[in-house]
Subunit: 323 residues, 2 copies
């Protein structure tokens, strides 16, 4: 881990610059509500629908900020990343918008729909085994061979400043919030949320939501240092990756609490949103609602922003069909 | 069939009154676009998302207009209807908002999710066989027993004036359209669309989209008189009902053309919207996109409003899982 002195911590000025830079390439996604789900939760929930975002996920914000912030000389060698899916889609999309190559290392076990979509956006895939260690090893080779600029899925100040634009929009679209909750895997969205709220909405509590079966961020938060697991197993496949130094900085300094949910709670919450809100969200995006429904005392009577992080699912393999 | 003289034809003043009456009970649903689907269609499509409407379908507009337009004396005996699903949900919802009973006759073969949802809104169900003749017979008994006010799913001027508020919003939400397309079953939404556009946007072409396997409106349109089938079979289960005199008036006078799509085209279009737009739409709602993709010459380069009529599906039984 790098020292804090060596690590550039993005500022809110970086968020404003990111927003100006990426606005031609992203959607200002809508905020939806459901009176039925509010009645179940005993709270007012405002769903920020990044499942409607370009490339189907919030990650296009950070990816676009990284890609369009590169100088021309660096950009022409392209960008590269490893990702369990949505960052790969998003970086491929952003690189395509700039007309530069995008190299992607992704687990061979990633959903076929995500591989097809990456290729659909022009991304060049190299497969690895489904573990953090294999991914990092294969990636190092690809990077040496191509000379492409590494854009980490989350531990990158450009990416975090980009993700931070999401909660900035959410604040503009809602009339006061008591809390914001987002899923946590590597912590990119949660870090961006911390970056925005700690600057322009200090009174809003920040919750992170995590699968019980991949609860390394929860355990890290309680222990006071990063705990990383290799290859945890959860239906919320976007949340398997561990915190890194930059995201740990934000999580450890600004998050109010981390809440966890079981696999069944996640699947039930996902199905509930499809059924009642008529939106396609991926399992990772259902983790916040699952934790809200499981912890009614935490959110009772509150106005809560819920980040719906993405909607990229394999429609031929829905989790409630298999259980 | 009644004579035209005996039939009250709603006016645009009725649409404005309906909008004022129902606005507390409905959502002003968003209009979504997909650059990917536009590129497939070679046209600019503006999807009016009534799948996000209260009770999951546009039908709550007409149902609310009927329910809230009743005098107190009539209202207290409740309302009654027969419906293949969404009108039943919507009338139950509207009656619940007014605090009056709602009696629903629906086919025993209707999706369980729809029956559960009707009961969830407080509707009282009497089941019939899945044919128009059985439905009408059972309904007559229920109406005599309860004295409830009949609100027909579509052949009712109050209902059509309510549905007409949808394209009024769509016009406000888009910056000029060349055409609007909506699915056609009994013709309630299409009639409402005709009512609005023929008054305030006369240059906008009006298309109706129908399953090949339930193409009675198409054949009626070509023949110049109503042709009704008993119990056609299609995945678009909201579109099995025939035109009636009042909807025929609008369809025969104002529709530009009726286009049809095969079952596979409908399923493919439905899956495409779920995959790329991340919205849950029911098979009936996918028929317009299916016909657009099949008739590129009709829509090429045009700005087309597409009414997404509803999102009430049984998530345990998706059509691409069975094919």
């Amino acid at each position: 881990m790098k020292d804090l002195d060596q690590m550039y911590i993005p500022t809110f000025a970086d968020v404003e610059a990111a927003h100006d830079r990426i606005v031609p390439y992203i959607h200002r996604t809508p905020v939806l509500t459901s009176s039925y789900i509010n009645s179940l939760a005993g709270a007012e929930l405002f769903f920020k629908c990044e499942n409607f975002q370009k490339a189907g996920a919030f990650k296009v914000r950070g990816a676009s900020n990284a890609v369009f912030g590169l100088d021309d000389e660096t950009a022409k060698r392209g960008v590269a990343t490893h990702s369990s899916g949505n960052h790969a889609l998003s970086l491929s999309y952003a690189a395509g918008q700039r007309g530069i190559p995008c190299h992607v290392v992704m687990p061979r076990t990633a959903p076929q729909a995500k591989k097809d979509a990456v290729r659909g956006y022009g991304g060049i895939i190299t497969e690895c085994e489904p573990s953090t260690s294999s991914r990092e090893e294969v990636f190092a080779k690809v990077q040496v061979e191509t000379g492409a600029e590494f854009v980490h899925p989350y531990n990158d100040h450009r990416v975090i400043a980009g993700q931070a634009t999401c909660s900035r929009e959410l604040l503009e679209q809602t009339d006061g919030l008591d809390a914001v909750i987002a899923p946590i895997g590597g912590g990119g969205m949660v870090s961006g949320t911390c970056l925005t709220l700690s600057n322009i909405a200090k009174d809003v509590a920040i919750y992170a939501a995590e699968p019980e079966q991949a609860d390394d961020a929860y355990r890290s938060f309680k222990a006071g240092h990063i705990i990383a697991d290799d290859a945890p197993n959860t239906v919320a496949d976007g949340l398997k990756v561990p915190l890194k130094d930059l995201t740990w900085h934000f999580v450890s300094n600004h998050v109010t609490d981390i809440l966890t949910a079981s696999e069944q709670d996640i699947i039930d919450a996902m199905r509930l949103t499809w059924q009642r809100m008529k939106i396609v969200m991926e399992p990772s995006s259902a983790v916040p609602l699952a934790t809200i429904l499981k912890n009614p005392d935490v959110f009772k009577g509150k106005r809560v922003g819920v980040i719906v992080t993405g909607g990229n699912v394999d429609l031929a393999k829905l989790p409630w069909m298999q259980s």
